[in-house]
Amino acid sequence: MSDIRFTDQHEWVRVDDDVATIGISDYAQEQLGDVVFVELPETGKTLSAGDEAAVVESVKAASEVYAPVSGEVVEVNGALEDEPAGVNEDAMGNGWFVKLKLSDASELDKLMDEAAYKEFCDGLD
């Protein structure tokens, strides 16, 4: 498994070469419940870490998904717009939201690794 990092806002980021794939964590999809709508950014858009990257909506609430790292949007998971349930089914895999071309790999160091994130979530309930 490649190196995966998490934010305290429940986004995950996985890096292959200089492309970062971003999604929301399994904990987040669980808390949101059945996702009914996903809004994705335009490809080519440049995001700074902390910028709004996407919007995810469940029956309970609408939430913004923030970019954990900076970069240019090179691909979005358009399948989610037709089948938002994909987020619930496989949040950590096929339910990814966007792919960014990393502009500053050092930003990854500020994020949590899997063990730290698990501990973080355990502390939330």
């Binding site: 806002q9 429940h10 986004e11 929301i24 987040a28 808390q31 949101l32 419940g33 059945d34 009914v36 709508f37 995810v56 469940s58 029956v59 309970k60 609430a61 609408a62 939430s63 913004e64 998904v65 923030y66 938002p84 349930a85 939330l124």
Partner: protein, 526 residues
């Protein structure tokens, strides 16, 4: 991610056990009558009135004459009457029973209000009538304005906003105008909103282009004064605070909050949705409030939502009074005049920020609200506040041994519980609320406020009798006992006795049927 709602509300239809329903041949359940959409009742050629085809009729609009049916259904008069009577019988309203929707103040709408609103001099006037023909109606607006100012201790009021959130927008636009008049428009871009505020507050600030900054609670359901002080600065435009707040608690530090906000050069917007808890007892002007909307459909008993248009007049402090929007009523030598243009306003010494509505506001609601005030008098209004607080505390005290009250001590006009009492039962707040429907009650507000888990917010209002509240309390106690028994079916898939069982909200959002289509019979309504 922002704003992630972790309140535990289940969203999966399948897990809720919903779906299965016992049916009859007609779809009727005893006196509970099934009713399709009016388009499904269509009988081609049927009509309420029989008129002969005119002979030798020549249309005068030539080629513009309509060639196709416009798609109106054909029904006879009794069919139309039955259709709407049957639909109305499916509606749960305050006229049908207790409606404990927290923060909504669903109280009785006195019939005296209705009688007054139907007087021809109020009911049959038109906003474009010459002013000299509607002097009485304008006097009524002015009189109501006077009492709203008196009850809030604030010197100015905008009568035109059409509802609470519209009033918020009006209040914040006046604040923005005042800030811009001081030349600080560029600098003050942040609005502070406590996490216990009404959801419309941050929405209003965002709509006006402000950055919303959340203030943490103190852990006891109130604003943390120190956290607020830290957030204040020269870039803050205003604070938007609800008092009493959505936890049903009075913000005890409100005077210190107002002082700190004013020292920072910002304005204090108070959401007056819960004014019914303090009317006649506390004047917001004395607390340092700069602007506050008053939901006439809450505190002053005019009908809510579908029952009639809302009305959200906004009262203003001295600092904001000059910016009150057009139009407004003035009186000189016993003659009432509507100030409608900027020129007229300039001559009157004000500088309105603009206009919220085409006309002067909801006349029918003004009549009802004034009828309510006049019939209660000052002692009666004081008792409204006292009884609303008493009733809510009676509910709180009668249920806190079996349900989990979120905060220590007494509440104001609404009692807040969370879902700790459901822990381990397999029943969620949502199931509990649905089971209340089977018992004939509109559920309380649930999963709001967000600051507690699985919230149940109950506002009985002052218009319920002790007998009525006792039955409600007994019902909730019985339901709580059932959550701990083997009778889980009472909750899973509930409501069982409503016209429809549990609806699949997720499917409705993912695959909405937005338009009726002829080739999709009956099940379209399901």
């Amino acid at each position: 991610m922002s704003g992630m709602n972790k309140q535990g509300r289940p969203t999966s239809f399948a897990e809720s056990g919903g779906g299965a329903e016992r049916t009859t041949f007609t779809g009727n359940k005893g006196l509970e009558l099934e009713e399709p959409l009016i388009f499904e009742r269509d009988t081609k050629g049927a009509c309420g009135v029989d008129l002969d085809e005119p002979e030798g009729y020549q249309p005068k609009i030539g080629k513009f004459e309509r060639k196709n049916r416009i798609g109106l259904p054909g029904l006879s008069e009794p069919e139309v009457v039955r259709h709407f009577v049957r639909l109305s019988s499916k509606n749960y309203s305050i006229d049908a029973g207790l409606y404990p929707l927290g923060s909504c103040t669903m109280k009785h709408n006195p019939r005296l209000n209705e009688k007054m609103a139907r007087l021809p001099g109020f009911g049959d006037v038109h906003p474009l009538q010459p002013e000299q023909t509607v002097q009485g109606a304008m006097e009524l607006i002015d009189t109501l304005a006077h009492w709203l100012k008196t009850l809030t201790g604030l010197p100015a009021v905008a009568m035109s906003p059409k509802a609470g959130a519209h009033g918020e927008l009006c209040g914040m636009m006046a604040i923005r105008a005042a800030i811009e008049a001081k030349g600080e428009g560029e600098q003050r871009r942040r609005v502070l909103v406590p996490e216990s505020a009404h959801g419309t507050n941050p929405a209003t600030a965002a709509l006006l282009g402000y950055k919303v900054d959340t203030i943490k609670g103190d852990g006891n359901g109130r604003v943390d004064l120190e956290a607020l002080r830290e957030k204040l600065g020269p870039d803050v435009a205003a604070i938007m605070l609800t008092n009493p707040n959505t936890c049903g608690l009075f913000e005890r530090d409100i005077i210190d909050i107002a002082k700190a906000v004013h020292e920072a050069g910002a304005y204090f917007y108070c959401d007056g949705a819960n004014f019914n808890a303090i009317v006649g007892r506390v004047r917001p002007g004395d607390l340092g409030v700069d602007a506050m909307h008053i939901n006439l459909h809450k505190t002053f008993s005019t009908p809510h939502g579908g029952g009639g248009p809302g009305a959200g007049p906004v009262v203003f402090s001295e600092a904001l009074a000059p910016f009150v929007p057009l139009p407004y009523v003035v009186q000189k030598d016993g003659v009432y005049d509507l100030i409608e243009t900027e020129d007229e306003a300039e001559a009157d010494g004000t500088s309105p920020f603009g206009r919220m509505t085409a006309f002067h506001g909801q006349m029918g609601m003004f009549v009802r609200a004034l009828a309510y005030m006049m019939s209660h008098g000052s002692d009666g209004l004081r008792q409204v506040a006292e009884d609303s607080v008493l009733n809510a505390n009676y509910v709180l005290a009668s249920l806190k041994d079996v349900m989990s009250a979120s905060y220590e001590g007494p509440c104001m006009h609404e009692a807040l519980f969370d879902d700790r009492f459901l822990k381990g039962t397999g029943v969620e707040t949502l199931d509990f609320a649905k089971a209340m429907i089977d018992e004939g009650y509109h559920p309380m507000t649930m999963y709001f406020p967000l600051v507690v888990h699985g919230a149940l917010l109950i506002e009985p209002t002052e218009t319920e009798s002790k007998q009525g509240i006792d039955l409600f309390i007994a019902t909730l106690r019985d339901l709580v006992a059932a959550t701990k028994s083997n009778d889980k079916e009472r909750f899973s898939g509930a409501p069982h006795f409503a016209p429809r069982g549990r609806l699949d909200e997720t499917a409705a959002a993912r695959k909405p049927i937005l338009r009726w289509q002829p080739e999709m019979p009956a099940q379209a309504a399901d």
